[in-house]
């Protein structure tokens, strides 16, 4: 039983990463009705920038972090401004496809610029694992989980209590009406892209010490995060968090008790099963996924 609990805890760290990345997807989806499939390789690019800032420019850790995240936000806003705005009127399949093209392109570009040799990013915290009752936790895991929950709470606050959040919710409900009511739709959508890519970048930076930093590092994590967002019902913050943790914990249990190789297969089986019962995800409603 203790072992089982330990395996559940072991999944928390990655669960939080998936939740963060899924949050980034959901924020973008809420305003622009698009899935940013490029989030994985965008995150990798941010982590690579951080590595350069730390190892080549030798900035202090906090400054490098801030710079990398600002870079992520700029990339997000630029993607919306420079690319997606130009094909606003195109069918959604075309718009989704362009983010897939970006995913491939950025991954290749990161490979060309930084190469494929794995690079180390320092762990965020030092010191041995903490002991809570019979269970062990690494400080990094704890930090990642805490950070994810705090960020989710902050996002919830922004969405529900601020003018920007109100604008986002208005756009999510009906973009044209929001525009007619004087909501600055373009700026708000660009901002949500900035936030979304920032969260993807953060997820990549946080996971980089655990897996080694390479251009394809986020491939599998991106698939899991996308799965988490679908599981939670695209368009719901709580769904992204819950979906992320479910995928993380179940994934860890599968690799502990069944087979490491089968992790993805079983996660997808789980998702198919959930979608069969609730076709719009755990927290989703029919209206949200109707396009």
């Amino acid at each position: 039983m203790v072992q089982f609990g330990q395996d559940v805890i072991g999944g928390l760290g990655f669960g939080a990463i998936y939740a963060l990345a899924a949050l980034g997807l959901v924020i973008i989806f809420k305003t622009s009705r698009l899935v940013n499939f490029a989030f994985g390789s965008m995150g990798t690019a941010v982590a690579m920038i951080l590595w350069t800032l730390l190892s080549a420019v030798r900035l202090p850790l906090v400054a490098a972090w801030l710079l990398a995240l600002v870079g992520a936000a700029v990339v997000g806003a630029l993607t919306d401004e420079a690319l997606l705005r130009r094909i606003e009127q195109a069918p959604s399949l075309i718009q989704i496809t362009i983010t897939l093209g970006l995913f491939i392109g950025i991954e290749g570009l990161v490979g060309v610029l930084w190469g494929y040799t794995p690079k180390p990013l320092p762990e965020l915290t030092s010191g041995g694992s903490l002991r809570v009752g019979p269970y062990f936790l690494t400080p990094d895991q704890l930090l990642i989980v805490a950070l994810t929950l705090v960020l989710a709470a902050a996002l919830h606050f922004v969405l529900e209590r601020t003018r920007l959040g109100l604008a986002m919710r208005a756009i999510a409900q009906d973009r044209d009406t929001a525009m007619l009511m004087g909501v600055p739709t373009r700026r708000t959508v660009a901002l949500s892209w900035a936030w979304g890519v920032l969260l993807s970048g953060l997820a990549a930076i946080l996971v980089a010490p655990a897996v080694s930093l390479s251009p394809t590092m986020m491939d599998q994590i991106a698939v899991f995060a996308f799965a988490a967002a679908v599981l939670g019902g695209f368009g719901s913050l709580a769904g992204a968090i819950v979906g992320g943790f479910i995928v993380g914990i179940v994934g860890n249990l599968i690799s502990a008790y069944l087979s490491t190789n089968f992790q993805l297969t079983f996660i997808f089986l789980l998702i198919v099963a959930v979608l069969y019962v609730r076709p719009h995800g755990i927290f989703g409603s029919a209206a949200q996924s109707r396009q």
């Binding site: 399949l93 491939i104 570009l109 089968f262 297969t265 198919v272």
Partner: protein, 341 residues
């Protein structure tokens, strides 16, 4: 329609003639022949995906899974049953089609994102299943294709393999092309353009979707069979997610809803990948860039390029030549001059 077809050159025939003749120009250079074979195999896979996306209006991010199903069937059938080539190819297609049928069943309920996650999951799961089902697939090590002969010709040596692949792939492309011209093809397109309208016309939408999924998987399975002969080894690592993305890119670059476009896209991207292989990531970057550029500049892909270019040219010529518009403009000026006088 008929007039337009008569006026244009018989491009498919010319391309086929080129494909038949070009090995002579290179004197059987095996490296080039190998790339050419790969082009043809990937063209069938891309065209099968195009059948699903461009004509059926569905999405699949897991077509490498069907390719794997076809390749593994080919290897198992060739090793255990020693079937001749033609039944082996059919078996590969049919096994993939059966999987496609099962995967297509929920498409009546699943749309957009949920279909993406289903096909994505399928594409990722197939290599993992192959890895773990060691009794059938030999796990990591994979299955080596036994040497195959067709009418006494050795299929492992290069010009023979190329011509065999050329014949099969051309048949597949032509079959897909004639399929979209039939009643079934029209139904696929009707469902793609508007499910509600198709339903109102008496089309069974769900059946059409399952049908297009099954057909697409069938042709992709055949491509998998050809791939098995080309690589000589079928292993779980040969069918990564990147491969599904590559087929997807070929369809987009070549143009959705054009079988010949997919052939063009496949040839272009395979050649790019081959040329840029020396620098890690370069080919991926170029392919991704090509997808983005295509969507921004010509969303209907390379296939629409002749049409777009000729339209632009005609408009430019018309502006310069004293055509209808020019004459009217002159008259306008004359009228204005008379009024002033």
């Amino acid at each position: 329609m008929i007039r337009a077809r008569r006026r244009g050159l018989p491009w498919p025939l010319l391309a086929f003639g080129f494909a038949v003749a070009f090995p002579a120009a290179y004197g059987g250079n095996t490296a080039i022949m190998s790339v050419a074979t790969q082009c043809l195999i990937y063209a069938v896979a891309a065209a099968s995906l195009n059948l699903l996306m461009g004509y059926g209006g569905q999405v699949s991010l897991g077509h490498a899974g069907f390719l794997a199903a076809g390749a593994y069937t080919a290897a198992v059938v060739a090793i255990h049953f020693r079937l001749p080539l033609v039944p082996e190819i059919l078996a590969a297609g049919l096994v993939a089609a059966a999987i496609g049928f099962v995967l297509g069943l929920p498409t009546g309920r699943l749309h957009g994102l949920y279909l993406v996650i289903l096909t994505l999951g399928f594409g990722v799961a197939v290599p993992q299943i192959a890895l773990n089902w060691t009794g059938l697939t030999n796990g990591w090590a994979g299955l080596a294709m036994p040497p195959t002969t067709l009418w006494g010709l050795d299929l492992t040596s290069q010009p023979t393999l190329y011509y065999c692949v050329l014949a099969v792939s051309w048949l597949c492309l032509l079959a897909m092309l004639s399929l979209v011209a039939t009643r079934s093809g029209r139904i696929f397109m009707a469902v793609r353009d508007s499910e509600a309208a198709a339903m109102a016309m008496g089309v069974n939408v769900w059946r059409a979707k399952v049908k297009v999924f099954t057909t697409s998987a069938f042709f992709c399975g055949i491509a998998g069979d050809l791939l098995a002969h080309w690589t000589g080894l079928v292993a779980p690592t040969s069918f990564p997610f990147d491969l599904s993305l590559l087929f997807f890119s070929m369809v987009i670059v070549g143009g959705m809803g054009s079988i010949w476009g997919s052939l063009t896209g496949a040839v272009l991207l395979v050649v790019i990948a081959d040329q840029a292989a020396s620098v890690g990531g370069l080919s991926t970057a170029i392919i991704g860039g090509a997808v983005v550029l295509t969507l921004l500049v010509a969303p209907e892909g390379l296939a629409s390029l002749p049409r777009v270019v000729s339209w632009r040219l005609r408009r430019m010529l018309e502006r310069e030549a004293p055509g209808e518009i020019g004459r009217f403009r002159n008259r306008d000026q004359r009228v204005r001059k008379e009024r002033r006088a």
